[in-house]
Structures are given as structure tokens and as C-alpha cells.
């Protein structure tokens, strides 16, 4: 897991060289792309099908067809793909978002696909078995992103697109976020930020409603975001120019799709059937019928319904009152999550200024009524709930590529899930609790259990449960090369960083001996070996040079961090060193800093090698000086860093 370095390009004053950044909502059922032009954010249209150039739409169905009927042999995206769903559901991938970053055991809902797991890793994403081959959910999402990108490219000047802000549910975990990043990379899109959907919506609403008659300086908003497959709640405090997320919660497997399945269940029961009587394809067919009925009830109080399946015919009527009961398992869960988030933020219902509804499912009168009743307040939904996330993303994107960022709105987000480590007996010890503001860096110091122990395994997990098996496994970090010592003497410092995208990176080093331990990281989730191979073959050019440039960037990032840490340490603990030691240390830091400033853009491999060698040389000179310093600090603060921490074992 490495830190992704995102370069922020400069804006040119020349209008012909004006750069654009996209806002992309990669939704479960529908996706869209928006951009800010002449100060206003707007969605970009495309024609709905290759045949009909007149019907245009801003919403792209998140559907990709991988069949081989009618001579098809490449993926088809959007409405055209959706047309195949009735006849060829197994090859028509809908709701790929619900498979992103998920392992087979995560997928509990009914679907018509044949999934193929990796032989080597049960936690990796399964692939869809299709007529065009085994396709990972990442590849499916990449097709959708490519289509959106093409849409943007045809609307904007050549070469003017600098990247995109892609939104994700606030409750997406590390595996789901990484899968989204991987899809963008596969589509050739530079990701400026992974932005949480409720925060994006808040931006669209916040920047929109500048006129406020109240004298209040700060407002507290609850964003209720119910989409096709995910649910998020975020509590935000907005002061002038600052959006601060107080707490966030949700369920990344709860949405409109689940309501369709509940309605399906009801229809079947009415008709005297059980879901077990049908095949997966049949269930999906009825679920889609159910969706149509659900949508009809947005405008009518009741609708005629009929079933003709498995040798059973049935007709009846579905009313709004029926719907309230049918979707109660979903409604109830969303409101319980709202309560949880208010508890986490220590906010009382009376302190809420507005409730904001986001996501297609919030159009339903059933949902609006339930929310209004629960909060005793009419929710706001005057911005199009389908579009508001993409619009907010476009606004944030525009800000991120500006040269002068000082007037940018500030988004202070949080990590939605607790980050922990496995301790004895498969328990979890939390290192970074949920709703911690990001970016955040936390250090934890460990020691050895046995005399002569030279290795250690640190298992990082994400989630709220207290046992490892009920949390998401993020990875196992193997540290080896710890110099053999008496048990309890080694000081292994592990730093956990969560960046502004909500993504984790972990680093470790052994402090007392001055010998650097090697780290091997085995991510648990994500693309399986087979999928990775496929993607690599699918088009990463200049692998060797890329790899070198990338390792150089990583070396630079690490070195920069070291320097910053040393500066802080000098301020706080400088008294532990002599004048001469301080001067030597600062000189070495200076030399390293100069080595880091060398330009690496568009350099040949040989030049990059030379720069890398120089950086490493300066690091080697700095190391003994900083290690001595670190040891002195360690001695002084070792008691405190071990306080409350279990210095228990991680055996080899």
C-alpha cells in the first residue's frame, strides 16, 4: 500500500489553455459527469443510444453488456446495454458497484451472475463469468468511467481535462476505495480526490444557498443519501468557507435495489410463490418489474400489478400503504443509522438546521414521509437528488486544479470506519477510531515477545466489531530483519496514515538498533493475482520506467516526511542534543533536501537512476544521526508510547 502522489497542475491565464476538472458520480444504478464552466457546474449530456441521436440524457445507466448475441464482441455501456438485460441477464452487469472491493462472502443479495473466485485468495474480488471472458468489477466500472470520459472529451477542448474528482459513498471502506481508484487508473483517468458523496452534496447545497436570513454563524446539516445500492448519513457543520464532517455512517449494501427485492418478495408471496421456487434469473426479472412498480408509486397512490412466472399467473394492486410496510426493513435501518451518527457526533435532533435528501431513492414519498416524521422537520430536496453529488464533485474538482487556492472551500472530512490491529486471541485493538478527522497519522510502538525474535506480523483490519473475523482484513505487514535482542527491547514504530481520500498507508521501522527492517505487505482484499495480470496486460505502458519513477516518488515522499518529522522533533526535543550534533543533523537534512529538489519530470531512465542514487546516498548519511536522536527521544518517551498499548505478541 503506497501513498499516491497527486500533482496539482497549474492553471494558465490564457483562455485557450484553460483546464477543466471533472466531477464524476459513479453510481450503483446511474452515473454522470459534470464540469464547471463559466463559474457554473452542469452535467454533460450524451445521446442515449448510438442509433438515436436526438434523445439525450445526462444520466448514464451503470450497466455494461458482455454478451455475444447479434455479433457483439466488445463491451456495450449504458442504455444500449440495459436493453439486453431481459434476454441475457447473466451477461448484463448492473450494479457493479455492489461488487467493488467485496469478497464472495460479502455478497449476500440475490443476483443473476456467475462469479468466479480467485484460487489463491478468498478475500479478493470475484470476477463475473461472461461470454466475453472473466471480468472483474473493477473492469466493469472502468468501462463506465471511460464512457463518461469520452462524453467529457467531446464537450471540452482537446487536452484540457486535468483529472477528475470521483465520488464514493462515505461508508466505503479501504477495499472499496482502492477498487474505485483502480477502475479510474484502468480508464486512464487521473483521480484528484475520492470525495465522499454526502460531502459532495453538501458542497452543492452550501455553495448554492449563500443567502441565509438567520444570524447564525454555523449551521448543522444532516445529509441523508439513499442511492440504488448504498446508504450514507453525514452530519456536517458549515461555517463560512468550511465544511466540517462531524460524523458519518451508513451501509454500503443498502439501497433502492433492496427495496426492489422486498417488493419482489411481496409479489411472490401474494402469488403464492416463494423466492426459492425461482431461479436467480427469474428473481432478477421480477425485481425489475418491482422497480417499475416502485417508481410508479412515486406519482400514484396505487398501481395495478401482475405476475406471470413459474406457471403462475396473478394480478393485484399495490398501494402506497403497502409499500410503507414492504420497505420498512430498509427505512428502519436508515433511521437507526441516523441515530447512531447523531450519537457519534454528540448532536441532538433539536440542533439540526436542515435535513438534506440525496440520491434517487429519496424521491419516493414513502422515504420523504418517514424522514420528515422521524426528524419532525420537512427535509430539503430542491436540488435534483440524482444530480447533486456530481455537481458538488465538479465544484470541488474545479477548486483542486486552481492555481490560487486560498479562496477554496475547505472540506474537513473523517474516516468512516475504525482502524485496528489484531491482538492476542483474534481481538481487535483500535488504533484510529471512526469519525477521526483526516488526514491523520497515528504511531504505535511494539516490541518483541521472545528473545532473539527477528520478525513480526501486524494484521491491520477495518471495522467496528471486536473480533478480527468480523472486520475487513486490510493486510498483513511482515517485518523481518529485526536484530535479535532480548525480548522487550526492540522498538518497532508503526505509523498509520489516512490521507484526504480516506486511504491508508502504513510504514514501520525499528528504532533502537539503527538497522532498517524490511517490510513486506500482503493486501488481503482487492484484485486477485489473475485479475491483476489481466489488467497489466490490458495496457500499462513503459512498465520499467513507470516503476522507477514511482519508486523514486516513494523515496522522495518518505524522505520529505523524515525531514519534517526531524524538524518537529528538533523543536520539541532539541535539548537532548549538543550544539554540534544539531548542526551536523541540520546539515545532513539540508543535503537531503537539495537532493530531493532535483527535477524528475520527463527524465530518461539513466537520469532517474542517478537522482535516486543521490537521494539514497544523502539518506544514508542522515540516518545514523537521526537514529541516535530517535533513540534518545525513545528513551525519554518510551513509557508514554507504551501506555495503554498491549505490548503483546505478534508471532512470526
Amino acid at each position: 500500500m503506497s501513498l499516491l502522489q497527486i500533482a496539482e497542475p497549474n492553471q494558465s491565464a490564457n483562455p485557450h489553455e484553460h483546464k477543466y476538472a471533472l466531477g464524476i458520480d459513479l453510481g450503483t444504478t446511474r452515473s454522470m459527469v459534470a464540469v464547471v464552466r463559466s463559474g457554473k457546474a452542469a452535467l454533460l449530456e450524451t445521446s442515449l443510444s448510438s442509433n438515436d441521436q436526438t434523445a439525450k440524457d445526462t444520466l448514464l445507466p451503470s450497466v455494461v453488456y458482455y454478451g455475444n448475441t447479434e455479433g457483439v464482441d466488445t463491451p456495450i455501456v449504458g442504455s444500449d446495454a440495459l436493453n439486453y438485460f431481459e434476454t441475457d441477464p447473466a451477461n448484463t452487469i448492473i450494479s457493479a458497484k455492489r461488487f467493488m472491493g467485496r469478497s464472495v462472502k460479502d455478497i449476500k443479495f440475490s443476483h443473476p451472475y456467475q462469479l468466479k473466485s480467485s484460487d489463491t485468495n478468498v478475500d479478493a474480488m470475484p470476477s463475473f463469468v461472461t461470454a466475453q471472458g472473466d471480468i472483474s468489477p473493477v473492469a466493469v466500472s472502468a468501462e463506465i468511467l471511460k464512457t463518461l470520459q469520452k462524453r467529457a472529451q467531446s464537450a471540452l477542448p482537446d487536452g484540457s481535462i486535468q483529472g477528475a474528482v470521483i465520488t464514493v459513498p462515505a461508508y466505503f471502506d479501504e477495499a472499496q476505495r482502492q477498487a474505485t481508484k483502480d477502475a479510474a487508473k484502468l480508464a486512464g483517468l487521473e483521480v484528484l480526490r475520492l470525495l465522499n458523496e454526502p460531502t459532495a452534496a453538501a458542497v452543492a447545497y452550501g455553495l448554492d444557498s449563500k443567502n441565509d436570513n438567520s444570524n447564525k454563524q454555523e449551521h448543522i446539516y444532516l445529509i441523508y443519501d439513499l442511492g440504488g445500492g448504498t446508504f450514507d448519513v453525514s452530519l456536517l457543520k458549515m461555517t463560512e468557507g468550511v465544511f466540517e464532517v462531524l460524523a458519518t455512517g451508513g451501509n454500503s449494501a443498502l439501497g433502492g435495489d433492496d427495496m426492489d427485492r422486498q417488493i419482489m418478495g411481496w409479489l411472490l408471496t401474494q402469488a403464492g410463490l416463494s423466492p426459492k421456487d425461482l431461479t436467480a434469473q427469474q428473481r432478477t426479472h421480477i425485481a425489475r418489474q418491482a422497480e417499475a412498480y416502485k417508481q410508479a408509486l412515486t406519482h400514484e397512490d396505487s398501481v395495478e400489478v401482475a405476475l406471470d412466472i413459474a406457471n403462475t399467473q396473478w394480478q393485484g394492486r399495490l398501494t402506497s400503504e403497502d409499500l410503507v410496510q414492504i420497505v420498512e426493513p430498509i427505512t428502519r435501518r436508515t433511521l437507526a443509522t441516523c441515530e447512531q451518527v447523531m450519537r457519534d457526533a454528540n448532536i441532538d435532533m433539536s440542533q439540526l438546521d436542515e435535513i438534506i435528501m440525496v440520491g434517487g431513492s429519496t424521491r419516493m414519498p414513502v422515504i420523504q414521509k418517514a424522514v420528515a416524521e422521524f426528524f419532525d422537520k420537512a427535509p430539503l430536496s430542491h436540488l435534483n437528488p440524482d444530480e447533486v453529488v456530481a455537481l458538488g464533485a465538479a465544484q470541488v474538482a474545479e477548486q483542486l486544479i486552481k492555481k490560487d487556492k486560498s479562496n477554496n472551500v475547505l472540506l474537513l472530512d473523517v474516516t468512516p470506519l475504525s482502524l485496528g490491529l489484531e491482538t492476542m486471541g483474534g481481538l481487535v485493538e483500535v488504533v484510529i477510531p471512526r469519525n477521526t478527522p483526516i488526514p491523520v497519522a497515528k504511531k504505535q510502538t511494539f516490541t518483541t515477545y521472545q528473545d532473539g525474535q527477528t520478525g513480526m506480523v501486524i494484521h491491520v483490519v477495518q471495522g467496528e466489531r471486536d473480533t478480527v473475523e468480523n472486520c475487513r482484513s486490510l493486510g498483513r505487514f511482515e517485518l523481518y530483519g529485526i536484530p535479535p535482542m532480548k525480548a522487550g527491547l526492540a522498538r518497532i514504530e508503526v505509523t498509520f496514515d489516512i490521507d484526504a481520500n480516506g486511504q491508508l498507508s502504513v510504514s514501520a521501522f525499528e528504532a533502537t538498533s539503527g538497522v532498517k527492517s524490511d517490510i513486506k505487505i500482503t493486501p488481503s482484499y482487492g484484485l486477485s493475482d489473475e485479475q491483476q495480470e489481466q489488467l497489466l496486460r490490458a495496457g500499462f505502458e513503459n512498465a520499467a520506467q513507470d516503476k522507477l519513477a514511482r519508486s523514486l516518488i516513494e523515496a522522495k515522499v518518505e524522505a520529505e516526511r523524515e525531514i519534517l518529522a526531524l524538524q518537529s522533533a528538533l523543536q520539541e526535543f532539541g535539548s537532548l542534543l549538543t550544539e554540534e550534533e544539531i548542526s551536523n543533523l541540520q546539515q545532513a537534512m539540508q543535503s537531503l533536501d537539495e537532493a530531493l529538489k532535483q527535477d524528475t519530470v520527463a527524465k530518461q531512465e539513466a537520469e532517474l537512476q542517478a537522482i535516486k542514487a543521490n537521494v539514497e546516498q544523502q539518506q544514508a548519511k542522515l540516518k545514523p544521526l537521526s537514529d541516535t536522536f530517535a533513540a534518545r527521544i525513545m528513551d525519554q518517551s518510551v513509557q508514554q508510547s507504551l501506555a495503554g498499548t498491549s505490548t503483546e505478541t505478534w508471532s512470526d
Binding site: 500533482a7 433492496d258 430498509i330 435501518r333 492555481k403 486560498s406 488526514p439 497515528k442 519534517l564 508514554q640
Partner: protein, 183 residues
Amino acid sequence: MSDNAPTFANFFALFELPIAFEIDTTKLSERLRQLQSQFHPDKLSGNESASLQQNSAVINHAYDILINPDSRANYLLELSGQELNVDHSIADLDFLDDAMEMRMALDDAESESDLPAITKLKTTVDQRIETQSQRFTEAYAQQDWSVAMDATQKLKFLVKLRKDMDIAIDNSQQEADDDDLYL
């Protein structure tokens, strides 16, 4: 080297607050927003986004230390050159008895999913935190370090207990299973 790094003598100075236990939380929040407006990666141009993340993380860390009474007390001791000896456990039997009772009451309430009971316990523990906070403030002002350290240890204990109560409340509200969701 990022010349955008915030420079500060200690966390209180960073937030422009006096070095004391009693803290103006409004000022703390305002200052947090000001600092992040200055140092958050979204507000600054440049390619060193890793260092910028670091600055922002340091600010978040400082805020975290100051906003919580136990870490704030601990930090004040550090600044005064006093070290909290963590191997030294709390010896005050009355305190421990009281805490044990609260723990047992919490376990009972949790197993019965008795939300009102847990909420009531939270109020009790908040009172205890207030007591120890006042004790710390007085001891700190008089440089009575052994009392200050004792109060800090107790604060840590109580804050953890309070967190466990929050977890118990969360658990009591959990759905038993997802059977009615997945057909």
C-alpha cells in the same frame, strides 16, 4: 522542505490558547478551522502533497490531544517535565471500587440492552470526570504533581470507561441480523 509547515512551541501555542487545563472549546474549534484553512492540502498549491498531508495531520493530532480531558492533562504534565509512570497502577481502593461497580452495572445493562440504564451510567461517569478534572486543575495550579498525576490516571481510566459505554449503547441498538433484508 515545505516552508508551509506550522511552527509552534507546543500545542497550546499552536491554537493560541493559554497553557492550562480549562480550555475555551469555542476558540479551539475556531482556531482549528483557521489552521486547516492555512495548512490543509486543498488550500495550498504545490506538488508536495505528502508534506501537506503531514501538516494537516499534525494539526488534527494537536486538536485531538487538547480536546480530550485525559490527553490534555497528560500533555500538561509532559510540558511541565512530569512523567506519568504508567506501570504504577491506581492504588485508590475507593476509586477502584466505584469504577468496578460502574463496570458491572454496565455489563448488566448491556446484556439486557437497557438503554436508559446505560445513559444514566454515562451521566454518573461524566460527573466523575468533572470531579477529577477539577482536582487536576487545582493540583496543577499548585504544582502538586503527585495529585495531578493521580487525577490524570483516573481521567484516563474514566474516559475509557465512558467510551465503553458508548460502545454498549451502539451494541444495544444493533439489528440482530439481516434476515429480513436478504431473501
